[in-house]
């Protein structure tokens, strides 16, 4: 579809375009509209309330309003898109634009601000990175999250960003224990198996493959391709645990909890390689923190997102839906619908960075063969932000940053006030997470879309009441956000399968892919890595063509 054919859109094409709407946006389920609960606890289902399908129908009936030329176009302003822009700028390339569908930037690092409180809507922490992750380390140092290096060259972290104590607690049998690994009232056998499992994970942590690379590391791309390890991708974590006699319930619960938390997939669906990667890949070291400490802020990773975005805000255009990408006249033509201005526009770029999920490829680049895309599946999530007045936090360990209920319905809640310094905190902000994993992602998305605020609210409350029977009295507000395609799912065979490798290949040497789904693991570090890799490809492209002029 070129600039001229405005109205000659076939029915098939139209359906394909509408398919984007059915998938939801890259961020959420756009068809949801706000609704206010009439009960005592107020709140709403937040998120964009525009129906993309409707927008698209409008878009294709419009003539092209304006054409833009840009050297580089980045589609998506999540962490990967912003990182790509950040590295382009570092290399002195400023002629680029970033398009964002939503009215705000940040993707999974979205956060809200309510009077004095800030709270995340998804990603909320970054484990201290391995010193080998040089680019990330320098980004953190540049932004004073790393304040210096000690004599052993270990990073010294900003103490306000290191998660304050107490960081984790687990509600088991009426009591809050410290830490998330169950240790109250467990049998000797259970204790032994937990100990052996953790020891085994430490062996994997230290293991290297026959190519001398870490068996498991972050970024995942730097992990060894030694088949002794990669074959673990062919079975589920559950099967691997059974094969290794890790069968006791508290251990299985804990591992399942961790995988749901990081991947939104259960122990039965996650590949053993991905499951072990969770425990064995983090090799952080710091001068003033424990190896497993995390960096967090009240707005979660929104803090890092703002740092990435701060020097390129003028390059970002929000409320723009890219819906058609085509190689043309030695460049790339991108059709865009500006749903705020209700205008259809065209961008012509020399190079494009695709920083949105792969699942959108068949719809945006229909001319390319994309059989492998069906291997990419994403988990839907529900996140509730709950504002309360201080309440009785229960027996045992004091209110912590991460508060998890053993065998709870969700993943528990994170206290956004954790990093606050003030003595009195008049309200608390709890962010409650729940991956929707009862059936399969497609059905869960359909179920999620029709639930009312009241229904979600009750679901959240019923879970929290297990640990806090009277919490309802203290709640001021519950807001709900649904994420249709929150995280790529590292299911069996995905990480070391063909699709993920196929998806990373640039198209026409002009369209470069950058999104955490290319890793199969939806974490900040992977998005940062892929944004950087895509930017490097472009930087090299221009460096080479510059050199070519001399030869």
């Amino acid at each position: 579809m070129g600039k001229s054919d405005v109205s000659n859109i076939s029915r098939k094409e139209f359906l394909e375009l509408s398919g984007i709407a059915l998938l939801g946006s890259t961020l959420g389920l756009q068809t949801l509209t706000s609704c206010e609960s009439a009960r005592t606890i107020h709140g709403q289902i937040v998120g964009a309330n525009h129906a993309i399908g409707h927008l698209l129908r409008k878009a294709i009936s419009l003539p092209i309003h304006q054409s833009h030329q840009t050297k580089i176009l980045i589609i998506g302003s999540g962490i990967s898109g912003l990182t790509a822009g950040y590295f382009l700028q570092k290399a002195g390339i400023t002629d680029y634009e970033i398009l964002e569908l939503e009215s705000h930037i940040g993707g999974n690092s979205t956060f809200s601000e309510d009077e004095a409180v800030r709270y995340p809507w998804a990603a909320h922490y970054l484990p201290i990175p391995s010193p080998e992750n040089k680019e990330l380390i320098s980004f953190l140092a540049e932004n004073k999250i790393i304040t210096g290096f000690d004599l052993n060259n270990l990073p010294i972290y900003d103490e306000y960003a290191l998660c304050f104590h107490p960081d984790e607690r687990l509600f088991v049998k009426g009591f809050w224990q410290e830490g998330l690994i169950p240790n109250i009232d467990i049998t000797e056998e259970e204790k032994t198996q937990i100990g052996q499992f953790l020891a085994k994970m430490n062996v994997f942590k230290a293991a290297k493959g026959n190519d001398q690379k870490w068996a498991f590391t972050i970024p995942l791309a730097n992990s060894s391709s030694d088949a002794n390890f990669t074959h673990l991708d062919k079975i589920s974590m559950k099967t691997w645990m059974e094969q290794n006699a890790f069968v006791v319930k508290p251990l299985q619960w804990y591992v399942n909890y961790c995988l749901l938390d990081d991947y939104g997939t259960s122990i039965a669906e996650t590949s053993a390689w991905a499951g072990i990667h969770y425990f064995a890949s983090r090799k952080g070291k710091a001068a003033n923190a424990k190896d497993d400490d995390v960096l967090t802020w009240s707005e979660g990773n929104g803090f890092l997102m703002k740092l990435l975005a701060k020097n390129q805000l003028k390059n970002i255009k929000t409320q723009c839906l890219a819906y058609q990408i085509e190689e043309k006249n030695g460049g790339v033509s991108v059709d865009v619908y500006d749903w705020e201005a209700e205008k259809r526009e065209n961008y012509f770029a020399e190079q494009v960075i695709w920083a949105v999920p792969q699942m959108l490829r068949p719809y945006l680049i229909p001319k390319q063969k994309t059989e492998f895309i069906k291997e990419f599946s994403y988990s839907p999530w529900m996140v509730a932000n709950i504002q309360t007045i201080p309440f009785d936090t229960g027996r045992g360990q004091a209110l912590s940053w991460d508060n998890v209920i053993y065998e709870g319905n969700g993943l528990g809640y994170v206290l956004s006030n954790q990093q606050e310094l003030r003595q009195d905190q008049k309200t608390w902000q709890l962010t409650y997470y729940k991956p929707l994993v009862d059936t399969n992602p497609v059905d869960e998305r359909k179920k999620a879309i029709i639930k009312t605020h009241e229904e979600w609210k009750n679901e959240v409350l019923n879970d929290l009441k297990k640990a806090h029977p009277k919490i309802e009295e203290s709640i001021l507000k519950i807001d709900i956000k649904l994420w249709g395609h929150a995280m790529i799912r590292p299911t069996i065979g995905f990480i070391h399968g063909a699709a993920r490798h196929e998806a990373q290949k640039s198209l026409y040497n002009k369209i470069h892919f950058a999104h955490s789904d290319l890793s199969g693991v939806s974490i900040f570090e992977e998005a940062f890595y892929h944004g950087n890799v895509a930017a490097k490809k472009i930087i090299n492209h221009y460096a080479n063509s510059y050199l070519d002029t001399f030869s």
């Binding site: 103490e159 290191l162 104590h165 003033n288 004091a398 310094l421 003595q423």
Partner: protein
């Protein structure tokens, strides 16, 4: 009333009985409250009884001016007694901290109650007299019931009412009884009353008011709380940040914040002299001093003994605390009105947030926070906080940190010392004995050095050179020990503190 009857109606005699009981109870409540709040129970009780009886005399005297509508007046007075008597103790309790001339309000309310009570019996006797009862009979019966009521009141008050209901509830309870007498008379003699409607309206209003007071009196002072303190509670208030309780036993006043003892007026001079003066002997040019915490103004009082200090800034989160110690006469006597001194600037702000943004340098800093018994307070003892303080302390400045008891909680104490050292401070640990607290520890810290610049003031009660020399010695049972550094991401001090105090509590 049936004029031919020779028998005095039982209802009126019952009224006499209740009126007498209530009257004496109000007197006892006033006396008790006065000695709770102002101490010195002998003179307070003596003054209250005298004043009360004298006021009753005034009431009796005035009774002769009542000729018409006696029953109306009786009910009216009864309602007034109930209202004033019923609310006296809660009013006194609530205003105790906020008015300067507390005792005059106390005496005023007592006099008012006395006058009304003094009117009651003469009025009743007039009513009976007008209804042609035999005078001999009136005198005999009225005074019999009066004195029986008094006996009952004086026995029940200390044995039942104070322990079971507390002063505030008891006060409301008898106010309600008075009102019930009024209602009973009102109901039975409604036909003879001129201002029937007005009286009904008033009676119901007073009844509802007092009943609400009775129900919600826990909001003023919960009885459960009153029983947890050994001494009499003379002030209780929940500020937005903490529960402030003042107690008094004899002349000894104690301040509790969230149930933790902050000072006892009996020996607080030891604590505050040890907090302030060693620091001052080392400070080179003590012009600007910062106090963090210490809203009671006692540390300020000690600082004001140095004339070369030009400005004192006090950061205390709780405005209720600083206002209390600025306004209450009894407390300003303790801190010698230090908080109203023009050199003193009080900022009711969060210490951590204030320090983080502060750009002014101070020559000396006094840190007097509550003990690190929770994670919020633990942050104020962290290496991060002490590092922030290095930007607030002049290069050659000094600071002192109250650091809990090195005897009860040696690990906690030495952890504070270690944490200060970890951010580059030289430290000088010392400890003194404060009977109310036990053996108490402080740590002096500086980035410069500890060189004596002046002697201890002459007019101190506790601290002098030999006493300070001695305080630097740590016997074997509180000797320095290895600890970790307290950080925001380990809060190790709170853990030490909990473990150590759990052993002794």
């Amino acid at each position: 009333m049936d004029k031919s009857s020779t028998k005095i109606p039982i209802l009126l005699l019952f009224s006499v009985f209740l009126v007498a009981t209530c009257g004496l109870i109000y007197e006892l409540i006033a006396g008790t409250l006065a000695s709770y709040l102002m101490g010195d129970s002998i003179s307070q009780f003596s003054i209250i009884i005298g004043l009360y009886l004298f006021s009753m005399g005034i009431g009796s005297f005035c009774s002769k001016y009542f000729d018409e509508n006696l029953l109306d007046w009786f009910i009216q007075i009864e309602l007034l007694v109930g209202l004033v008597g019923g609310i006296t103790s809660s009013v006194l309790f609530v205003i105790f901290n906020s008015v300067d001339s507390f005792q005059w309000i106390l005496y005023g309310l007592i006099s008012l109650t006395g006058i009304f009570v003094g009117l009651e019996i003469p009025l009743l006797m007039q009513i009976l007299n007008k209804n042609n009862f035999e005078f001999k009979d009136i005198i005999s019966k009225v005074f019999t019931f009066d004195y029986v009521g008094a006996l009952l009141a004086s026995i029940l008050f200390p044995l039942v009412f104070v322990p079971k209901m507390g002063l505030i509830r008891t006060s409301f309870f008898f106010g309600i009884l008075n009102t019930l007498v009024a209602l009973l008379v009102l109901y039975n003699y409604s036909a003879q009353l001129k201002y029937r409607l007005t009286l009904w309206f008033q009676a119901i209003f007073v009844f509802v008011l007092l009943t609400l007071g009775f129900i919600f009196s826990d909001n003023i002072l919960s009885w459960a709380e009153a029983t947890t303190y050994d001494e009499k509670i003379i002030f209780a208030k929940s500020s937005p940040y903490q529960r402030i309780i003042l107690t008094r036993q004899g002349s000894n006043i104690k301040l509790f914040l969230n149930r933790n003892l902050q000072f006892s007026s009996f020996d607080e001079y030891r604590y505050h002299e040890a907090l302030v003066h060693p620091l001052m002997t080392f400070t080179k040019k003590p012009e600007k001093v910062l106090i963090l915490g210490g809203g009671d103004g006692m540390a300020v009082r000690e600082l004001l003994k140095y004339e070369n200090i030009k400005a004192i800034t006090l950061i205390d989160l709780d405005a209720d605390m600083t206002n209390l110690f600025k306004r209450n006469e009894m407390l300003t006597k303790l801190n010698q009105n230090a908080l109203n001194n023009p050199k003193v600037k009080i900022l009711n702000q969060d210490a951590f947030l204030w320090i983080k943004q502060n750009k002014t340098l101070f020559d000396a800093i006094i840190i007097d926070f509550p003990d690190p018994n929770n994670f919020a307070l633990g942050k104020l003892y962290s290496n991060t906080f002490y590092r922030e303080l290095t930007h607030t302390l002049a290069l050659d400045g000094l600071m002192v940190v109250q650091s809990t008891s090195p005897f009860m909680a040696p690990k906690s104490y030495w952890c504070v010392n270690k944490t200060l050292q970890s951010v580059g401070f030289k430290t000088l640990p010392y400890h003194v004995f404060v009977p109310s607290f036990g053996d108490w520890g402080y740590v002096l810290a500086t980035k410069s050095d500890f060189t004596k610049t002046q002697n201890f003031p002459e007019n101190l009660r506790f601290m002098n050179e030999p006493a300070f020399e001695q305080s630097k010695v740590f016997p074997k049972d509180m000797a320095q020990q290895e600890t970790e550094v307290n950080k925001l991401n380990n809060q190790i001090l709170v853990q030490y503190f909990e473990e150590e105090w759990a052993k002794v509590m």
